[in-house]
Symmetry: C2
Subunit: 421 residues, 2 copies
């Protein structure tokens, strides 16, 4: 008879698991900023110099002393002597004195003496008849600092610009480049060992006999690990033998930061996974059984500070529970700062039943709905029905709809939150 | 004087650009499924065999003929003769006849003659005293097909399982592996050539003199291209010379599927970019000026069927407009099926002004807000103020908040949609 499970709510189970991973155990490594997309910073990054480190104009126009323009209007322009043009990419060789101005292009360095820029649109260039002097008519006053970026206005020297645990996106790459960083310290990718068990499971490249099925879980979970920022190491498929699995798991645990065992689907092998985890190190199994669908038989353990997760053999259950438990473990090891999750709001198309106390995750298809563009009005969420073992229910889903444990279902027309997968 | 721009709404501008890219021009290539995460399928994929291709049980229990259990209850159990155990990973060597049953484990192949499985929990094993026969007491009736997955219930043979243009996620990898695919045809990564211009722009590895700034745009846009599924090719930085830029752009256009020129920030070089695009091929510049902030001077062109995009030198403007225009071009070249975008709902913390007719994109920080968990109640969106040229306004933002062109602003407390970046 199968072991009877005491089911924990998924949020509690996750909290318990993470609390045993007291701190990131992952080292850092130096990587080129050009290869850093999707990695996480392993240390705080401070600005080595202010940005910009010279005052720049944000418009095309004339660099002026603001007070020379006070009161200027269409009917009563101010007149300033044009003394030169600011070269792009260099410091101006002149200073602006009272009554003077210089032509300047967006991004150009403000000459000394100037404290504002008048946009070209509010000026007129007059070449005086019989006079070698060039004069500029100014039709609008500017305030001190107008149309400028001051030194340090983007970041000050020494400022914390990118905290430890930041996911590197295109914008961070820009910030790093602006400050002259070509390499950074990034968290090493956590090594996640994947073991499949089950006498019925064969390598996907083989042709199954009747009764056999191809290994899906090593590959779906491997892809999820990589997507999250980890490195997936597939150890292969092990028969339903305690000793074989125990030895393989012990080896994987010594080589990896996390291990995941996807159980053969029978009750005996599920229980074997828990037994194996108990032998791998203290404290061992923390949670065996989670009040969620799919994923009830999930096992969460920690052995010598490393997470060891037993997932059901059912490929949908394994992958959904990978999103719920493996992703947060990898994020914790990476030292990742909390980030808003990718979710969309959508209108549910049908009633969905659920059991109070249990958290359900339904695969849904998101379809544009013609009406309105209010919140969740632009999309409809169409649940994909099918037994939870059917991998193509997930492959055709855009996301997973969560039904809270305290709900007994959701009604057609409700606006629901869908986690994109 | 700068060219006066006729501003197009961003949605219209994008539609016009994409309409000139009549069909994907990208070839496909064969890649291993294990390296396919984040790629796009280049052809429809059909199931070569049904899945599963044998009837499997979804529970641990006894394989039976359903009608033998009809009427069974706690008080009036049915009694069936146990004739064997289904081996995992093999076809059973026996058939179930009326009055018989066999032990079966989750995932096991249903023996011939059986048409349902009774869960272990509703049975009792009796070894008859003085009799060699084993009998199973059944306390609950099952319907024909109960606790089974039938042949083809996941997918039927020949069924379209993954359409052309599908983004490969972990779930697709699972589906492909389940069907024995180890390689697929994927769209080649569109080659996107990146050119920076500006006499003031230097390579990020160099130390700027006063007046110089490091090249940010080649790197932020390069990262965005890679994140979207393209290949970024950086051609470097070119001086503000028509001939130099024209030659470089023509070379890049011949080698790439898309080119992006980030203009030097002065009006003269912006206009030069448009002039260069006009010489590269028909129809040339389609849009010069978009009614959006940031990004007004964006140029959208097509030359000989390839998109040529001129982005402002301002790094925030370049990256935001990269999200708005470069991403959809790459997705079109990949033949990507439309997907729901990653957005979150959040409560705006302050009033935000906007100009009617103009679409604004504000960088915002998303913070968990303690109250409620209704839509958008769990997060607050805090706009990051700063001139649009400051790259760290984006590097510290979680997303971009869109203000519709027909709005004159948004009020504090409104629930807003934020595109995650």
């Amino acid at each position: 008879m199968p072991e009877f499970l005491t089911l924990l709510p998924p949020d509690d189970a996750r909290t318990l698991l993470l609390s045993h991973l007291s701190k990131p155990i992952i080292d850092s490594e130096s990587i080129a900023v050009t290869s850093s997309l999707g990695r996480f910073t392993a240390s705080d990054i401070f600005a080595p110099h202010p940005l910009p480190d010279f005052p720049r104009t944000t418009v095309d126009g004339y660099a002026v002393r603001a007070k020379d323009t006070f009161g200027a209007s269409d009917s009563l322009p101010a007149y300033l002597n044009l003394i030169g043009e600011v070269p792009m990419g260099d410091s101006p060789s002149f200073e602006i004195e009272s009554g003077q101005c210089a032509l300047i292009h967006t991004g150009g360095m403000l000459p000394k003496g100037a404290d504002a820029v008048v946009m070209l649109e509010y000026t007129q260039h007059i070449v005086g008849a019989g006079s070698p002097r060039s004069e500029i008519e100014i039709f609008k006053s500017v305030a001190d600092g107008e149309n400028l970026i001051r030194i340090g206005e983007d970041v000050a020297q020494g400022q914390l610009v990118i905290p430890k645990g930041t996911l590197i996106r295109p914008a961070e790459i820009g910030g790093l480049m602006a400050l002259g960083f070509t390499a950074i310290h990034a968290a090493k990718k956590p090594r996640v060992g994947l073991l499949s068990t089950g006498d019925e499971v064969i390598d996907p490249s083989q042709t199954p006999r009747y009764g056999q099925v191809r290994d899906i879980n090593s590959y779906t979970l491997g892809a999820l690990v990589e997507k999250t920022g980890g490195e997936a190491i597939r150890y292969g498929i092990f028969s339903d033998s305690f000793q074989v699995l125990q030895e393989a798991a012990a080896k994987a645990l010594s080589e990896c930061d996390v291990i995941i065992i996807t159980a053969g689907s029978s009750a005996s092998t599920r229980d074997m996974t828990a037994e194996v985890i108990r032998t791998l190190g203290e404290p061992g199994v923390l949670v065996h059984g989670i009040n969620t669908r799919p994923g009830k038989p999930t096992i969460l353990g920690v052995c010598y500070g490393k997470a060891v997760i037993g997932l059901p053999g059912n490929p949908v259950s394994a992958l959904v529970n990978g999103y719920l438990f493996v992703v947060p473990v990898i994020e914790k090891l990476l030292g990742a700062l909390p980030k808003p999750k990718s979710t969309v709001m959508a209108k549910l198309t049908v009633n969905l039943p659920s059991q109070a106390g249990r958290e359900d995750w339904w695969p849904v298809k998101l379809l544009p709905s013609p009406k309105g563009r209010g919140q969740g009005e632009g999309l409809s969420a169409d649940p994909i029905f099918g037994k939870s073992n059917l991998i193509f229910t997930l492959a055709s889903a855009d996301g997973l709809l969560r039904i809270h444990p305290d709900a007994t279902g959701l009604s057609a027309g409700e606006i629901v939150e869908v986690m994109l997968i």
